[in-house]
């Protein structure tokens, strides 16, 4: 699925070698500024050059929301390619029944009040904006999900709920996370990145059972 061989990106990524197969659920852990975002960007860029370009739901750290549009339209953007331009334009002027139904359902699953969908996203709070961003990625309805700290502004309970939503709906997932617990509980492979280098890359089970591996995890944040 994703493959990097001794990859180098100026001084941000250093000698990265990894391969991620379809069906794996991978969490990237590491201190801020360590290279998680750069690595995700590289994976996303690389895949968009290949044929699988369109099978990825991409959820960047900045969300990429369009401020003046409503939450509804920001989520709907995930399926622009499934309709012709006139349909999309009509939906921009007046939300059409079919996508409206689907997006209201999705927003309830995300814990968003459906009234919030009709406000412009500039008026929403950080957590609400983040969920709209995830909403768009989920609405893409793809097999692969790439996300950069998608639940960072949510409280632990809500974060867990939404992580579960992402996990249930995608077969292959690569997420950057800053919460260790979330990573250990939900993912079957964890990659630790620090100063642009991979510090460890191992199955979650080993990180829990193997003392040496657990030490590596601790050293990540020293």
């Amino acid at each position: 699925m994703f493959k990097l061989d001794h990859y180098q990106l100026d001084n941000r990524l250093n000698d990265i070698t990894l391969s991620i197969n379809a069906g794996e659920k991978v969490a990237l852990l590491g201190p801020s500024g360590g290279g998680k975002t750069s690595l995700l960007n590289v994976l996303h860029q690389q895949s968009s050059e290949k044929t699988c370009a369109d099978q990825i739901a991409w959820c960047p750290q900045e969300h990429g929301l369009v401020e003046s549009l409503s939450g509804y339209h920001n989520i709907y953007m995930g399926q622009l390619e499934q309709h012709n331009a006139l349909y999309n334009l009509a939906n921009l002027i007046k939300p059409l029944a079919q996508p409206k139904q689907a997006i209201i359902e999705l927003s309830l699953e995300l814990g968003l009040d459906s009234e919030l969908l009709w406000k412009s996203v500039a008026q929403l709070s950080g957590g609400q904006r983040q969920r709209i961003g995830i909403g768009r990625a989920l609405f893409r309805q793809q097999d692969v999900f790439l996300g950069d700290e998608p639940v960072s502004s949510l409280d632990p309970v809500q974060a867990q709920k939404i992580l579960q939503l992402i996990l249930n709906r995608h077969s292959t997932i690569v997420l950057a996370l800053h919460n260790r617990k979330q990573a250990l509980e939900n993912f079957n492979r964890i990659i630790g990145i620090k100063a642009g280098k991979i510090v460890f890359d191992s199955p979650t089970k080993e990180l829990i059972n193997n003392k040496y591996q657990a030490g590596l995890l601790d050293s990540l944040y020293d």
Binding site: H44, S48, A53, D54, W58, C59, P60, E62, H63, G64, L65, V66, E67, S68, L69, H73, Y76, M77, G78, Q79, L80, E81, H83, N84, A85, N88, L89, L92, G133, R136, A137, R140
Partner: protein
């Protein structure tokens, strides 16, 4: 540090180069005062200014309405066309097309459309709409380019261009586009006024008549109405004074548009050429139509060497002088209006200077030039003065605002020391880039001032139209457009250096 030194050096060199070129221009330019006694005329004008009078109410109302109607319809149409053109602006052909329609001045378009549609509303609207479409397309495309591409990155690459444009790029760019369109509307009001100088029934027509007949009181009255019109835009475009019940502009603008269409003057019967005949026959020289290659070549050679080049030379001389005079005036004007020098909340000096700058930038060059021609006689001086004053008004205003946005130490120097050591060095790069942006406009305008009788390109174009020599007129318009495009690309290169 080294970087800023290099920058300082290159902006100094650029400034010096322009200054030297301007000094070299002086001996060649026609800078004679023909009027022996300018003071009489000036005194009568001053009297008119102090005792303005208004023409008959119906004339004033009519001309104001038509001026606004032309501008409003043209800007709405042009913004819409620009919006669509911006969507396909990545095609080279579209970019070239837009560059060439905006390189021809509104008045030249007016003269062209007049041959087909006569002195009608169609001519008035199209004269503004066509070049403005090209300007809108370019500006909108640039604004869109500046927007974040992150929203775009989360979309499917299979989504169509049109949908992406309307969901991702357009909503992001919208606020900037609206404010640019509002600014353009103000420009369109000026253009619409100026179209009166070629006979369309806008404010400029009555202004020119009043000036020509020496009725300076009436001219002053019309000029004041024009100021009021420009200054009041914000009051009637938003209606904020209606309080909470204000009407949003997406209701107001269509409403005004309908009113504008109703207000358009009835078009007289035209006995000119048809559109087809104009483009296939009228604008081509006989020699080309007859298929004589040698004769065609000779015709073009004659037009180029004997008409176009001298006109081009004069246009360049005047615009170069105007550019440098503008620069000098800006450096003199801007501190008086800036809070950086007059920080008191109610500074008389600042208020006064700002009013002067407002007047300078809202009076079109054409009107300044017209007045100066009356006072000083037909030479290059009125043109240079008019161009420099109008542009200095505009650039000083922008530079003043820039100087107010900078942070100063609480113990900064005052007066001349503050000016020479602190503020001016810091605003200088911005000043140069504004000036270089304006260069293209100054060239366009100095070509057009020829319509008043100064021997720039516009003079020869206007006379060619008067002699019904459409072939020559069109050839010269193309030359003027090429000059614009060349200067635009040259100034872009200089801008990237400083």
């Amino acid at each position: 540090m080294i970087n800023s030194l290099v920058n300082m050096k290159s902006s100094r060199n650029t400034s010096l180069a322009f200054l030297i070129v301007a000094l070299l221009c002086i001996p060649f330019a026609d800078l004679v005062v023909y009027q022996v006694e300018p003071w009489d005329e000036l005194a009568r004008m001053g009297q008119g200014l102090l005792q303005p009078s208004l023409p008959e109410f119906s004339i004033l109302a009519d001309s104001l309405m038509i001026t606004v109607a032309f501008a409003l319809i043209a800007v709405s149409g042009a913004a819409l066309i620009g919006l669509l053109l911006a969507l396909v602006f990545h095609f080279r052909a579209v970019r070239i097309f837009c560059a060439s329609i905006r390189a021809v001045h509104e008045l030249f378009w007016g003269l062209i459309f007049m041959q087909i549609y006569g002195l009608s509303a169609t001519t008035g609207v199209l004269a503004i709409l066509v070049p403005f479409s090209g300007i809108f397309a370019k500006m909108f495309a640039e604004i869109i380019e500046q927007q974040s591409s992150v929203p775009h990155s989360t979309l499917s690459s299979r989504s169509d261009r049109f949908s992406r444009y309307f969901y991702s790029w357009l909503p992001q760019a919208w606020p900037q586009m609206v404010s640019y369109t509002r600014y353009r509307f103000e420009c369109a009001l000026r253009s619409s006024t100026i179209l009166g100088f070629i006979g369309l029934p806008t404010l400029g027509f009555y202004l020119e008549t009043a000036f020509k007949q020496g009725q300076y009181d009436e001219a002053a009255g019309l000029l004041f109405s024009f100021f009021l019109l420009i200054a009041s835009i914000r009051w009637w475009l938003h209606l904020p004074w209606l309080g909470r019940k204000w009407i949003p502009s997406y209701v107001l603008v269509p409403l005004y548009l309908v009113l504008a269409i109703l207000a358009l003057p009835a078009s007289p019967q035209v006995y000119g050429s048809s559109l087809g005949q104009f483009f296939t026959d009228d604008i081509w020289p006989r020699a080309v139509l007859n298929g004589g290659i040698v004769a065609s070549f000779q015709w073009y050679q004659h037009q180029l060497l004997d008409v176009a080049l001298p006109a081009l030379w004069d246009t360049l001389l005047l615009s170069q002088l105007a550019l440098v005079l503008t620069a000098i005036l800006v450096l003199v004007f801007y501190p008086w209006a800036s809070k950086a020098f007059f920080p008191k909340p109610l500074s008389f000096m600042r208020g006064f200077s700002r009013t002067v700058l407002l007047v300078l930038r809202s009076v079109p060059e054409m009107i300044f030039a017209f007045v100066f021609l009356l006072i000083l006689g037909p030479s290059g001086i009125p043109a240079v003065l008019a161009l420099a004053l109008h542009n200095a008004g505009l650039i000083s205003y922008l530079l003043m605002r820039h100087s107010e946005q900078l942070n100063y130490r609480s113990d900064h120097a005052t007066g001349l020391n503050h000016y020479f050591y602190d503020v001016t060095p810091r605003v200088y790069p911005h000043f140069l880039s504004l000036l270089l942006y304006r260069w293209e406009v100054i060239i366009r305008e100095s070509a057009i001032l020829g319509i008043l009788g100064i021997t720039t390109l516009g003079f020869y174009i206007d006379s060619a139209f008067e002699d019904i020599r459409f072939d020559r007129a069109l050839f010269l318009i193309v030359i003027a457009a090429l000059l614009n495009i060349a200067v635009d690309s040259f100034s872009r290169r200089v801008r990237s250096r400083v």
